[in-house]
């Protein structure tokens, strides 16, 4: 399946890119597994947040074909 992954702030810097398209074969893959498959060598910090299709999701939320999955550190706006 085809997934768009976005990275922001310190996670964008850690990964070295802001966005990538990827094809993954796993059926029933969740967000944590997606990170591990794509960025296996980089540990996802404990306080990281995930959004799937622009809504907050948990790390064990299932990722589906066509989803936009974003990984980012705690937000500091306002």
């Amino acid at each position: 399946m085809s997934i768009t992954i976005k990275y922001f702030a310190s996670l964008r810097e850690a990964v070295g890119q802001a966005e990538q398209q990827c094809q993954i074969s796993a059926v029933g893959c969740n967000a944590a597994e997606l990170w591990a498959q794509i960025n296996g060598s980089i540990a996802l910090p404990d306080n990281s947040l995930v959004a799937i299709n622009k809504n907050y999701a948990s790390l064990d939320a299932r990722v589906n074909d066509g989803d936009e999955v974003a990984f980012f550190p705690p937000v500091t706006g306002g």
Partner: protein, 150 residues
């Protein structure tokens, strides 16, 4: 209910005046409360030269709109105006504006506090401070103002 994200400077008072002239019916709202957050030139005892605000624009817009909708269920609000800067900002620049027009002042204060509090905790923005060659991502703003007090 406009929510505006922009990567260039804005004058909060000018925007408030323009919004009021264009969108508000004179005599409708008895109470207006505005919060303006600006970049300070010091943070935790260290000078700040500038800051870059990164954002996830579509999600930020959606999260702020949702916070505004939740506030409109709790309080009688005639108009909202929420603006948030992103990109490079300098000390003294307005970073965020939350304006509420309501009939009564308690409602306007409560809604304004609610929106800025939840915006800070939910809207996907990230601040990086610049000082000389040093760039530092702020790690959290949850301890900044007392969580749970909105």
């Amino acid at each position: 209910m406009p929510v505006i994200l922009q990567d260039f400077e804005f004058s909060p008072y000018q925007r408030l005046q323009e919004y009021e002239e264009q969108c508000c019916k004179p005599g409708e709202s008895g109470a207006t409360v505005n919060f303006i957050g600006s970049l300070r030139d010091m943070h935790e005892g260290s000078p700040v030269e500038a800051m870059t605000i990164e954002c996830y624009p579509d999600m930020a817009l959606q999260e702020i709109e949702q916070v505004c909708e939740e506030s409109a269920k709790q309080w009688q609000i005639h108009h909202f105006l929420v603006m948030h800067r992103y990109g490079r900002v300098e000390p003294g620049d307005a970073l965020v504006l939350v304006a509420i027009w309501s009939t009564h002042r308690q409602q306007a204060f409560d809604a304004c506090r609610y929106i800025i509090h939840h915006l800070k905790h939910k809207a996907p923005f990230w601040k990086q401070e610049h000082h000389g060659d040093n760039n530092r991502w702020l790690e959290s703003n949850t301890n900044d103002e007392g969580v749970g007090q909105c």
